[in-house]
């Protein structure tokens, strides 16, 4: 004879245990899928590094060796000496630096005007900028190429860096405007009453408060410029002016069977973005979130 209250207590405990077991099973499933996703994301990068540290003989061995032993750091030295990658690093570095500063400065100035100031035509111009994000680059690519060539700027960095100093792209202006909107207006209004000019308000009040957003824009500009392929491909013709991406492409044409060197060169091209990514990771994801959703 079982006491009915005991029976119900047992069955409810059983239900609770079953629920907990189901939850544990579900979480095990979640972890397994997360791990599988992580493998898919990381394995190609691991394979890149692994292959970059092997000799030609090791790389061709089947079944494949997973850990290079001994690691051949020499491949990097070789990749940098057969093609002047040092030079390409410098070129990319200069272009990227000028693009990042231009983008951060001019996009934040414009975003300030769109977020805070009342002026005639503001909304119309802002709408135009937003609409221009939909425009395929292919439409403007050819007239821009023709225009820059006529002005005598083909095979220079001018076409790659000057546009960054004119607003730095609608996307960045939009992102910064969204950030500025989240800062209470009272801050700049009280500064204004105290006699501060617009430039002072922008530089002394809004810029310090939006530092994370400016970092995001800077990182986006860095990635965009460092990773750009089509721009340099169209404009740069002499190989001494090549960027890292173009140099890598040229390298591929010359050494396309020497996978270990190609992987070393690719890994070296990747290194700066990885470093920047890990430094700015937190801000970065915040930035994507803000433009993607709160828009």
């Amino acid at each position: 004879m079982v006491n009915p209250t005991t029976a119900s207590r047992v069955s409810s405990r059983r239900a609770r245990m079953a629920g907990r077991a189901r939850k544990a099973g579900w979480m095990a499933c979640v972890y397994a899928l997360l791990a599988a996703g992580a493998v898919f994301s990381l394995l190609p990068l691991y394979w890149l590094v692994r292959s970059s540290l092997m000799s030609m003989a090791q790389i061709f061995r089947l079944p494949p060796i997973w850990i290079p032993n001994p690691p051949r750091w020499d491949n990097y030295v070789k990749a940098f000496s057969v093609v002047p990658f040092g030079r390409y690093y410098l070129n990319s570095g200069v272009i990227t630096l000028v693009v990042v500063s231009g983008t951060v400065i001019t996009s934040s100035l414009s975003a300030y005007a769109f977020a805070r100031l009342r002026w005639k035509g503001r909304d119309a111009i802002f709408a135009c900028l937003i609409a221009s994000m939909m425009l395929p680059f292919a439409v403007t690519m050819i007239p821009l190429f023709v225009g820059w060539s006529r002005l005598g700027f083909s095979n220079t960095y001018v076409p790659l860096i000057v546009p960054a100093w004119f607003g730095g792209g609608a996307y960045n202006i939009f992102l910064l405007r969204q950030f500025y909107m989240t800062i209470p207006r009272e801050l700049d209004e009280s500064a204004f009453v105290d006699g501060a000019g617009y430039l002072t308000i922008y530089a002394r009040i809004l810029t310090p408060l939006t530092r994370p957003a400016l970092i995001v824009v800077g990182i986006f500009a860095f990635m965009g410029s460092w990773n750009d392929f089509l721009g340099p491909l169209i404009y740069l013709s002499s190989s001494s002016k090549y960027t890292v991406s173009l140099g890598l492409r040229m390298f591929q044409g010359m050494y396309n069977a020497e996978w270990h060197l190609m992987m070393a060169a690719s890994a070296a091209a990747l290194l700066p973005v990885i470093v920047v990514f890990f430094i700015g990771q937190r801000y970065f994801i915040e930035g994507i979130t803000l433009t993607g959703i709160k828009g």
Binding site: A138, I142, A267, F284, G292
Partner: protein, 307 residues
Amino acid sequence: MQAGIAAAPKRAGAIAAAENRAGWLFAAPAALGFLLFVLGPMAASLWYSFTNLTISGKWSFIGLSNYRNMFSGNDIYFYHALGVTARYVAMSVPLKIGYAFLLATLLNQPAHGKSVFRAIFYLPTIVPGVAISMIWMWLLNPDLGLVNELLRAAGLPTSKWIYSKDTVIPSLSFMSVWTTGTIAVVFLAGLQDIPRHLYEATSLDGGGAWSRFRHVTVPLMTPTIFFNLCTTLIGSFQVFAEAYIMTGGGPDNASLFYVFYLYREAFTYTRMGSACAIAWVLFLIIMAVTALVFKTSDRWVFYEGGR
């Protein structure tokens, strides 16, 4: 007293004028940039598309000839490139969106180390396009690549991947899934915005996990899905670097993407006018597809606050 009252609106007017001036001054870089690098080139591109401009600068007006050339099938690559791109878009967009949604759903579970996983999933998207191409050329190498090696080890059939006419587009679509981290992060933000109490309400009504997903998550995520669908579609129509580096448009033009076709017309055959016509057709196609998505959105996108 009288003077004070009169001065106030005057001063307000002066402030408004100063603000107007400042607004224009601050926005000048962006406004000028829009004129010089967007609107001007757009108009020029449209005009060029009615000429036979070459890279040397010689041109004459030829009306609709460039367009007629494309649509009549005279230029045999137009419909071909369009078909190749359409197949790529049809394969890669659902794969990317689906996989990103799965990743975001996983990241939204109460698991440990979520920010680490998020960073890992995002990592591939920052790799330079040329390096992505090199990595995958190596992974998909039919003789020595890791992918075929793993398939062989598992006793599965191997493939020639990007080196065969039939598999090159599926291979490139599969590869595009690797860089879907940005979409996943946007999805995750959307998932985190869903109010907890809605889930609790479904639970109280006796709904299980599936019913919560079906009746709360999916409807509330439709605006985010819509946003991601539009941006991914626009991006996928413009794929270029992968084909340029990995396949050169081959084998046998099987991966001649539309922008590659345009690039070839402009910079290999130096026919700038014709390339501009190709670009405008792309623009119109992208606008039409986006408009179509917008039009159907009434039926499947749910806005919490109504419209």
